[in-house]
Symmetry: C2
């Protein structure tokens, strides 16, 4: 997987030396590291996009330090790339050209949680799960739940506009960010957005910055809106003979006017990968859907799940099992979270995709993906947030010798997604992994406008270079 690294132009050692000198004057002891282990660790993320070690990693602890680091990098012409927990799935935090990796992980304080205002103010390095637990202890709810919530950080969630299973009912990160302290690429510090739930003063720069994948600046403080914690949650496992039945069940549930907070689909391959690992699926299960509803009254929720079960039965479901208690609920979700690592154990390599199609097209895309896998001789496992059309389609493969085939499968998958009215990424971002595919979905005028917008915010082009947008072909 070292292919891509060779293609990029790394910054020269002299500039690096000069920027390190400048950085030591704005940082404290221990906030700058250049040892081989650190550089190797900060050259990877959870994507399959290659290894790109930085020349130096810095750990600022204040907004002023982040600003000073950015200014030093610009002054010395050294590329700089922000990162958080490096749990990203699209290579967004990989320092393609080397230079300075700017880790926000030490800015990890929860500054305040207000029960009265239903807001929280946090540093970008706060782990998402830590915030979830802290607000739940006060009867509040922060819904976005990326699969990596136990270790990913809120700054990364903001950069990628992270989603998760609950996005179906509750939306994604951007629906909860109301204000940001933001450091622009030139080091200027701005406050954008607000502390109130509502507000329309000026342009919605919060909307623009959330999901900008670390290419327009970085959040150094995040103001989030919260909602009251639903008093009751019920989770059910709906068992189908096949993945196509399950996909049709998901579509039918939504078309019937039921909006669970999660509707997660697990196909036959993914199901076999996790079956028996702390959870035994019922005999004859060819595919399952995890459905979760929440609200304030248990009776209403049971009725909701019962209607959902009836609709699924009409689409071929054989059983709907409601989790009896919190322990059973947790087991179900543990199975869901175990899919990604379990698939990795099936074959030495996998590519995890993150496509979205209009909900009515879920059965069709699943069918076409299976057919494509059969045709190319590759194993395709599909699971994920089927309720909002966001599927994590995984291609499993043996090793580098199959990479050409995998690339072909990936291309076909994204082409068919766009053909069906879908998008190439629902929550992982474009980053490095998909920049060559963005043009499948977005026309030249839109790509050009976005490239110019990047230059507007980052005239030096040194912040997180070469991400999102496909490289322009040079005229000869």
């Amino acid at each position: 997987m070292s292919g891509p690294s060779a293609r990029t132009d790394r910054v020269d050692a002299e500039r690096v030396a000069r920027v390190c000198e400048a950085l030591t004057s704005v940082l404290e002891q221990g906030q700058l590291r250049r040892d081989a282990d650190t550089l190797a660790a900060y050259g990877r993320d959870e994507s399959d996009s290659g290894v790109f070690p930085p020349d130096v990693v810095v750990f600022p602890e204040t907004t002023a330090q982040v600003s000073a680091v950015f200014k030093a990098c610009v002054a010395h012409g050294v590329p700089f790339t922000p990162c958080g927990a490096r749990s990203g799935k699209s290579g967004g935090s990989l320092p393609l050209n080397g230079g300075v990796a700017v880790s926000l992980e030490r800015m990890n304080r929860i500054h305040s949680i207000s029960v009265e205002d239903l807001t929280a103010v946090v540093g970008p390095g706060v782990v998402t799960g830590d915030l979830m637990k802290a607000v739940e202890a006060q009867g509040l709810f922060y819904p976005p739940d990326p699969n990596s919530w136990e270790f990913c950080t809120l700054g990364g969630n903001v950069a990628e506009n992270a989603g998760g299973p609950r996005a179906l009912k509750y939306g994604v990160t951007r629906d909860y960010v109301i204000g940001l302290e933001w450091v622009l690429p030139d080091g200027e510090v701005l406050r954008v957005g607000r502390r109130t739930i509502k507000g329309v003063a000026g342009y919605d720069l919060v909307g623009l910055f959330v999901g900008s994948e670390g290419t327009l600046g970085v959040a150094t403080e995040i103001t989030l809106q919260l909602i009251p914690l639903p008093r009751k949650v019920l989770t059910a496992l709906v068992v189908f003979p096949s993945v196509l039945d399950a996909a049709r069940g998901v579509s039918a549930v939504l078309a019937a006017g039921i909006l669970p907070r999660c509707l997660e689909l697990i196909d036959d391959v993914a199901l076999r990968a996790v079956d028996g690992r702390g959870f035994q699926f019922p005999a004859g299960a060819g595919s399952v859907v995890i459905a979760e509803v929440d609200g304030h009254g248990e009776e209403g929720l049971l009725e909701e799940l019962s209607r959902l079960g009836d609709i699924c039965a009409q689409q071929g479901a054989t059983q709907t099992l409601v989790a009896r208690d919190e322990g059973q609920r947790e087991k179900l979700w543990a199975v869901r979270r175990a899919i990604s690592p379990a698939l990795r154990a099936l074959k030495p390599h996998k590519i995890s995709e993150d496509i979205v199609v209009p909900r009515s097209k879920i059965p069709e895309i699943i069918q076409r993906l299976k057919m494509m896998g059969a045709e190319l001789g590759l194993t395709v496992a599909t699971y994920g947030h089927a309720g909002d059309g966001n599927l994590h389609a995984n291609i499993l493969y043996e090793g580098p010798h199959q990479r050409g085939l995998v690339d072909e499968a990936l291309r076909r998958m994204l082409v068919m997604t766009v053909e069906l009215g879908g998008t190439i990424t629902g929550e992982h971002g474009v980053g490095l992994a998909k920049r060559e595919f963005l043009a499948l979905e977005q026309g030249p005028a839109l790509l050009d406008l976005q490239r110019r917008l990047k230059s507007f915010f980052d005239p030096s082009g040194l912040l997180n270079p070469q991400k999102i947008f496909p490289a322009l072909k040079r005229s000869t």
Copy 2:
């Protein structure tokens, strides 16, 4: 109120003549009007910002025509300002410098409603209430409900990022817009966003364009996400002896973890203005709160309202009356909608404000507004979406001789709003009405960035000039 008009520089007659010639070649018969009545009508909106008639009004019916109109205006150096139903409250659609008013009202087709995908595609001229009814007939729900929903248009809602009472639970317009066909100021046509519920490919230009108040371009097609229609809605009237008790009641309900879909407050002045007009408030009512909850089970909702009533009783509420049927519900909401015109009948003039404070500050801001009114000898009526801290504070006055006093009251109101951590506009926009106050809330660097962003998208500066941002003082 003709003061402001005199300050602006109108475009000269020769340019207007030339652009009209160009426009007649891209429009059909009847799509261009210059008669005095039309020009007068398109020089006003629902704000108190003055009268600024355009030199010509055009009514394009296709995206290609909108694009051609924009190109003609730029080619001839004539300012152009988009408009919809002219129900705006901040002067955003007023053609300050004359020129061409571009009305999108004839692009009023609902192109499609998909029950399976939970989406709708509409033209910008579709009346918000028409879409609401059309989707409800299919069991779907479009929640944003600006007070003017019976006549405002979705294009205007997109431009202003309109809210409404249900924003408390369901969010505002931008939470439902997933894709746009957008005409940039230079006439270029782009498709931004997507047709799927989720998606993070590229920068969130939809987020930037929604709420840009007609200064960055205009939507010619809008793709909206819908949700299933809640099967049951219950509405209650909570009666308080005073507005301060009511404000404390609202805060207490939210802090207790109850999230109704609406929590509308009506103070003593507003209450007296509408009392007896088709609805008789209980004796001793000094202020009321309309609380509305929705969901799938009546039992759960009754329990919710009962908890809400208990909490309000602890804050001094004397009664909680649940509407028996749809007729009673409709009566309550008719009262709420009647406040704005009824206040206008109390005194010849009123300024309607649209401030937001963090929810915990609702009692304090109401108290301070009343004190300010008493000090200045002006009647202040406060009502609105207290649940999300968005209050419509109205200053009633006798005539132009009091305008100086009113301006002082307005300034003090916005200053205290910002002091309490609030924003000067929750849903009406900055437009013309508040551009001189934006600097209370946003610093020079942020204002400068936004001005440069406006120039990035509109280098000619001809689209809806002089809106949102305070005029720069010229150095002498």
